[in-house]
Amino acid sequence: MAATKGQSISVSLASATCALLGGVTPAAVQAQEEPGWDFNTSLLYYGEDADRVQDLSISVLATRTFMDDRALTMGLTVDALTGATPNGGQYQSVPQTFTSPSGNSVFTAPAGTLALDDSFRDTRVALSANWSQPFSRLYTFDVGMSASKEYDYMHLGANAKISRDFNQRNTTVSAGLAYAADSLNPVGGTPTPLTPMADVGDLGNRIGDQDKDVVDLVLGVTQVISRNLVVQANYSFSDSSGYLNDPYKIVSIVDAVTGDVVPRTPAPGLQGPSHEYVFESRPDQRTKHSLYGQAKYYMNGKVLDASYRYMTDDWDIDSHTVDLRFRWPVGEKAYLEPHLRYYTQTEANFYQVGLVDGAPLPLYASSDYRLGNFDGITAGLKYGWTTRNDNDMSVRLELYQQRGSIPADRLIGNQVGQFEYPDLDAVILQFSYRFGR
């Protein structure tokens, strides 16, 4: 009896407290923020081995919180990219010369090396803005815009999301829609898919700027299970249409018996490719479906963050991603967070090592290693601490490795001994500083 009475007193006290606070109960998971600015800044180094892509990036995310949980978030990221990237050309035991994407010079990949296009250099600036507005007590409406610009690419996007809390804010259901209109204006013009790489100065197969539209839909449910467990489940649909090729990627034309890339002689007096290559061709439409689940579990100060994603698309790519983070407090004001991520994908149905000389050209073909069959593993460690003036700092170091393969029965002649998947090893080093809260 006494216990029941005690319980009912605590219920009344809690209700009274909520009433005193203006009747605004905390959102499903996030507590009410004090009005003010919050700045999240980071410096990132991303570096691939063997002189491949290097990215130095700075980012700022500034959030201004107003009364009643209204918030404006603005983001800026600047990337400086350099390095070489595999152009899709097949690994060969002889040197290979390629016409550069601009069409006004050549570069040579030495014998027995991956065909890398080292003319890659770019600066990317990305901006974003988002407004979050609670309304009618249980709803939140988010609306945002994004834009980014690179030398040869421009992105413009808009998105909106509506969320509703149920069940004493233990359940949040949300639906979001995003639209992106991107345009490509590659150096030297966009190559016509499946046309041959031509000699220097011959831009006859180039077409004008191209567009790509992407529509994303995300439906999600967040559920508080207990005092220390919260889970989320999302379904995402994504539809891309337009020019979906990478304008700098090529496919080698190979001999039907030896599997070697077919040699070629540039026109007299001209520089040009030493072998036969054609520009890749992807379908102009792609539909993806994803299921995503995440759980956060609190154990005596430690937090386990586990997520899984399944993705399938109409290019026959299926992927599974498992991501695990474990936050381990070190003393009162610091923590260590190991991170493990495993990724695996099947290849697109038009992924090719090379196209056989003399056979009819397929409608679609790409040797882009990102459309092949590979696994990726990321292992990292983050150390974070609260500074003397109550700001948050962290540093993380991660290693990302990709290993790809192709079934032996898809290889012909010398490809059997020579084919090498453009495996990747990269380092991610990021410093973050959060202040103003």
Binding site: Q30, A31, S42, Q168, T171, V173, T222, R227, R370, L424
Partner: protein, 70 residues
């Protein structure tokens, strides 16, 4: 709005209404480290890196795209 109501009703039927905590038991759930996205900038960085290097993107939210890297 219809979809929201539909999904919500499904969850109510599925028994979610019996899960969860009372408003005054949210001390742990309100902690920074218990938010679904703890570090928005780090999450955006990862989305961007993996969007550039793999054939999948998104899941947690919208794709992480908007670059010529894929």
């Amino acid at each position: 709005m219809k979809i929201l109501t539909l999904v919500a009703s499904l969850f109510v039927v599925a028994g979610c209404s019996s899960m969860g905590v009372e408003p005054w038991d949210r001390d742990i759930l309100a902690k920074d480290e218990m938010q679904l996205t703890t570090d928005a900038l780090e999450a955006a960085t990862d989305d961007h890196i993996y969007f550039s290097k793999e054939a999948s993107s998104g899941g947690r939210g919208f794709g992480g795209g908007g670059c010529g890297c894929n």
